[in-house]
Symmetry: C2
Subunit: 198 residues, 2 copies
């Protein structure tokens, strides 16, 4: 995707949160970066400060920890979603999590430094505060959904929720990532998939 197209997609998504006029948009754009993260490359790694919040224009990432030598996939983010190791980004402290591209992934990024510049720029400050509030609230709701789905739903219901995101990348994703995300073994996941297909 070329930069113009990526910007268009990003702006369209942003307008759910906040509408910039042309003058504001021109200033805002100067604070954005564009990059492609090759499949298997890292957006964030433990021990390193996560400098950016990214918006996924194309592709997908997984969040994982390593526990007793094993990778535990905790979350996925897809196209038209933000991605960051949030605590690390917000507090500029070392990340605790890996965030890895599941396929070649195109991102629009805002560095922590650029975000602070915009929050302190009177022309953008109010809209950036609003943008920051709505994005943080959106992710707060995602976290709450994720935690309550573990408490109140069965693995099968969680799998159906994941399918309902309608992301075709799920077809191409290694099944053990999905199993970990659901908190079950790959064998249990195969059983659920067979049951659903019947």
């Amino acid at each position: 995707m070329d930069t113009q197209k990526a910007l268009y997609v990003f702006r369209e998504h942003l307008e759910r949160y906040i509408v910039f006029n042309e003058a504001e948009w021109i200033v805002f754009m100067q604070h954005l970066t564009f990059r492609t993260l090759k499949k298997k490359r890292y957006f964030a790694e433990p021990g390193i400060v996560c400098k950016d919040i990214g918006f996924i224009v194309k592709g997908a990432v997984r969040y994982y920890h390593i526990k007793e030598g094993e990778e535990i996939t905790g979350y996925f983010s897809f196209e038209n979603e933000f991605v960051s190791s949030y605590k690390s980004y917000l507090t500029q402290s070392p990340s605790l999590t890996y965030i890895q591209a599941l396929e070649d992934t195109e991102l629009v990024g805002i560095s922590h430094k650029d975000m602070q510049l915009m929050l302190n720029n009177p022309m953008l400050a109010y809209k950036m505060e609003r943008f920051g509030r709505l994005v943080a609230e959106h992710y707060l709701i995602c976290y709450e959904d994720r935690v309550s789905s573990f408490i109140t739903k069965t693995p099968e219901e969680r799998y159906l929720d994941l399918l309902n995101t309608g992301r075709d990348i799920l077809q191409r994703m290694p099944q053990h990532y999905i199993a970990h995300y659901l908190g079950i073994t790959p064998v249990s996941l195969s059983r659920i998939r067979r049951r659903i297909l019947v």
Copy 2:
């Protein structure tokens, strides 16, 4: 605690996020409510929209779900912390969780309606957006800590983290609430407590 004292404590805490001048504070105060939630009474219940975000001036609450007839305590909030069934409050949809007072609890509240009025009041809008952003980011970090502590820490480490909050109410709290919060059985918790006391 009388209302004046409660307001003083609340304002002092708020100033970590945002400083109101006197004129703004007078308007802001008109949007606040005060109440005492008696021990065992509910701040939020499943199926009911959570109308308020509360700030705990005195006391503590626990968040829990019921799973297969059993109460599962997922979180605690103490003095000088905010409390809400956030997704329910933010989206004004029915809560999924119970929030119950662990002892008589005094709260300063902001209803969703009053928050919207302030966000739309030009005098307060910018500061309320900023306040909303910083509170949401704070809770995003708490959620992230909670999720990663389950992945990366032992129950003993999680127990020590909870002790480090320095809340004396932990001494008076039923042990099975604490065990659930740590994701272990009450028997395992007793074992951890004995080990730590040695």
